[in-house]
Symmetry: C2
Subunit: 135 residues, 2 copies
DNA sequence: TGCCAGACGTTATACCGTTACGCAACGAAC
DNA sequence: GTTCGTTGCGTAACGGTATAACGTCTGGCA
């Protein structure tokens, strides 16, 4: 359990349990899978997990993968400042990598503004094959 | 009803009904909303809609918006060749715009390959406010 | 004629996420 | 110290999203 050394605002018990589950999995988990892992710790209802996830996502320690309806612990040791992140999701091994590329973000923002669109949040997810899974 | 003039492989009845519903809505619809619109035409089960959607997405006449769990008719008159498309989703009016920017795609592909990742499909969705909805 | 592939229809089920309650703990304000 | 707002917690019920597992029907074709 490497454990992040974030500027983390004292996680509550449920939040710590959920984060711990995601970190030790090292791969995306659905909310219900997390719940199943935590029934032994006393959690019983989806809402308990979703509330913890909401908070963890809000403070940037967990990311939601929209195309998977799943959640993953943030990989960046220095979490905290969260611009746009692009995810690389391996369809063979489920590993998830993160890209933060300022020029990519700029391009995207520019293209949007050309169309008169004011973006608030960007979702970028690549599905494919990671280095280790390419034969 | 503008109606696409695609190189479309003879849609079946259900596929045509689903596509028509999406085109006349002009905004993203969930599969179940489509189903509700089509109960009058004899459709009864989600699967009938999902099967039609699968086909329409495969031939590029409909896009799936992952962050919305919804579907939208393709806006491009000249559909058919589908590279990466980025969607601009207005949170005020639900309109969806499409961006196809080759240099954006290149940047993304480059960044991925730097990480040894071989992408198959890209999902890019911007949430924000469209031109008309910015006061 | 017999076979096969593809679309279709139905039922049931699994998976994902939220609404609507009410309770308990804590800190700030007065 | 009581009041009050805020935040987190727990439970039950529900609604929205998607698929599994059947079986049927049709058209093409050897």
């Amino acid at each position: 359990m490497a454990g992040h050394a974030h500027n983390a605002p004292q996680l509550t018990k449920n939040q710590a349990l959920v984060l711990g589950t995601l970190e030790s999995a090292g791969a995306p988990l659905s909310a219900y899978t997390i719940l199943d892992h935590l029934r032994g710790e006393g959690l019983r209802a989806p809402l308990q997990v979703y509330r913890a996830l909401d908070k963890l996502v809000a403070i940037g320690m967990v990311h939601r993968l929209e195309s998977l309806n799943a959640f993953v612990a943030c990989r960046h040791p220095g979490c905290g400042h969260h611009e746009t992140v692009a995810f690389m999701i391996c369809e063979a091994c489920s590993n998830v990598g993160e890209i933060t590329d300022a020029s990519l973000e700029d391009r995207l923002k520019l293209a949007a503004e050309d169309a008169g669109f004011a973006p608030k949040r960007s979702i970028i997810e690549l599905r494919g094959t990671c280095r280790d899974c390419q034969s």
